[in-house]
């Protein structure tokens, strides 16, 4: 690492350095490094199978890297179990939303506040309902009866219940109609404006780059390009590969 890199890492909220992940014999993540600073939206973009979600799961402790380091708010979290990270301020909205389908909207939100003191649950739920009035209308319904867009809102609301310092979103646009994608990205921007730091994994490069402070392009398990969202939007290679131009 050069001195300049060290300086960047020191002020980073999340710093991932040289991680390698295998699925059996498949080398899914190859020496990936990136960081997220406070107040940023950082996007990891790339095609299906590029290793974006695997990277995110490794950060959240659901998968393990054999090498390198992962630091969050100055602490090494490489070996921290997934269920210990939420309490420290690292929340993840998993790919495919993964809301608890047989539990009500409100129960899902309560689960999001599992690590929080009891007194903060009701105000948290009120805040989420403010941000997502749709969820309030459906508070008693089981999550399985919600539409895809509503489930995405619920998954995001559930993650926000833990008052995260860093919110990681895995493919929030997946399987949604264009109008809903607009809406979800609007919400992400609003969250960012109100002070949230966000790590966003997206296949929808156009949308992701248009809101990202910085982005990393992943290909077959490696980071191949990095820059600000605006830079990458006009980058010829990115345009050819991911933006259909």
């Amino acid at each position: 690492m050069s001195n300049e890199d060290r300086a960047t890492n020191a002020e980073a909220m999340l710093s991932v350095y040289n991680i390698n992940v295998w699925y059996g014999a498949i080398h899914a993540i190859k020496s990936v490094s990136f960081d997220v600073r406070e107040g940023e939206i950082v996007a990891l973009i790339g095609a299906n199978g590029a290793g974006k979600s695997t990277t995110l799961k490794t950060v959240s402790g659901l998968l393990r890297s054999q090498t390198g380091s992962i630091t969050f708010l100055g602490d090494d979290i490489m070996h921290t179990p997934a269920d210990k990270l939420v309490g420290r301020g690292l929340a993840q909205v998993p790919e495919g939303r993964r809301v608890f389908l047989e539990m009500s909207v409100e129960e899902n939100l309560e689960m999001g506040a599992y690590t929080q003191p009891k007194t903060s649950v009701a105000p948290g739920i009120a805040r989420v309902y403010d941000a997502f009035p749709r969820l309030k209308e459906r508070r008693r319904q089981v999550a399985g009866t919600l539409s895809g867009g509503e489930q995405q809102m619920l998954a995001m609301g559930r993650a926000l219940m833990s008052n995260p310092k860093l919110l990681m979103l895995d493919e929030p646009s997946m399987g949604l109609a264009p109008i809903l994608i607009e809406q979800i990205f609007q919400i992400i921007e609003d969250l960012h404006r109100s002070g949230s730091t966000i790590l966003l994994v997206e296949q929808n490069a156009q949308m992701a780059l248009s809101i990202a402070t910085r982005a990393y392009v992943m290909e077959t398990g490696k980071v191949t390009l990095t820059g600000t969202g605006a830079e990458l939007l006009v980058n010829d290679d990115v345009r050819r590969a991911y933006l259909g131009g």
Binding site: D83, V86, A91, R98, E102, M103
Partner: protein
């Protein structure tokens, strides 16, 4: 008519025992997604512990039941930690075979400790039964069993529906990784489920042996299998399903003994199960969940 009511009462009380055991089965299956075939043998251990506490130590029945509950809770958590937890990533077949192994281990350990000769279990409750129940040969044990069963079911429904721990159990039951992301300690939640299931097994053991007072190392095996049947019958994983399945199974068994043939009663019980599963593959209250792609 009187005879019919007597058999119905018998069916209800045995059905309540099956229901209590089935509730334990269904809790563990619902959360850990494994069939704990050793569950029936925990019942037997519970009955032996209570037997020793009353017959050898001369303790009063409520204390004996409490000791039995504590012992089975510890045993359940121990079994889970030693035998099942290391297999969390293994296939369901490995876990199933291990559970059968644990079942034999408990039966043989019981034979080693308490011998193969059946013990004569003294009922843990007795009180004068009011009319008209007394004339139907309804015993104090039957009444107690039915009430305990109802209380347990209500308590479990309340626990899983209204407490933080209970809701966390439902979350783990649906999606372990998503539950982890909420900060739920999945291993501890599963241990907790085993603790609850085994505590229920202890209660079922003392009630069942109060009702049918012969206690030997294989005492838990057949009721265990029947209660498993009851849980599947009602829809495994469902708490009201286990209750209804247990009660129905007890009544079907009692009626088959009364009006068809006592030696065919078990065959009839399992035949009914097969028919139910042909018509409703997920059981009476179970939901059919297609494999996720």
């Amino acid at each position: 008519m009187t005879v019919f009511l007597q058999y119905l009462a018998n069916g209800l009380s045995m059905g309540s025992v099956y229901a209590i055991i089935a509730l334990g089965y269904t809790m563990v299956y619902g959360i850990a997604k494994m069939l704990n075939f050793a569950h029936g043998d925990v019942i037997m251990v519970g009955a032996y512990v209570s037997f020793c506490a009353t017959s050898y130590l001369g303790l009063p029945a409520p204390v004996a039941v409490l000791i039995s509950i504590l012992a089975c809770t510890a045993l359940g958590v121990l079994i889970e930690g030693l035998a099942y937890k290391p297999l969390r990533q293994a296939g369901p077949l490995a876990v199933l075979i291990t559970a059968i192994g644990v079942s034999y281990l408990l039966q043989n350990a019981a034979q080693l400790i308490w011998g193969a000769t059946p013990k004569n279990f003294t009922a843990i409750v007795s009180f004068p039964v009011p009319e008209p129940l007394a004339s139907l040969n309804v015993s104090a044990v039957s009444i107690t069993t039915i009430i305990v069963c109802l209380v347990i079911m209500a308590a479990l429904m309340w626990f899983t529906g209204h407490t933080k721990m209970g809701k966390a159990m439902r979350a783990v039951s649906e999606d372990k990784d998503a539950a982890r992301l909420m900060g739920i300690n999945v291993n501890r939640t599963i241990s907790m489920t085993f603790a609850i299931g085994s505590a229920l097994a202890a209660l079922a053991g003392v009630l069942m042996c109060s009702y049918a007072p012969v206690l030997q190392p294989t005492t838990g095996a057949m009721p265990g299998i029947k209660a498993f049947t009851a849980a599947v019958f009602g829809g495994i994983g469902s708490i009201p399903g286990a209750f209804i399945g247990g009660i129905l199974l007890g009544i079907i068994e009692a009626m088959a003994q009364a009006y068809i043939s006592s030696s065919l009663a078990n065959s009839i019980v399992f035949a009914v199960l097969i028919v139910v599963l042909l018509v409703k593959p997920a059981g009476l209250l179970g939901k059919y969940v297609p494999e996720k792609v």
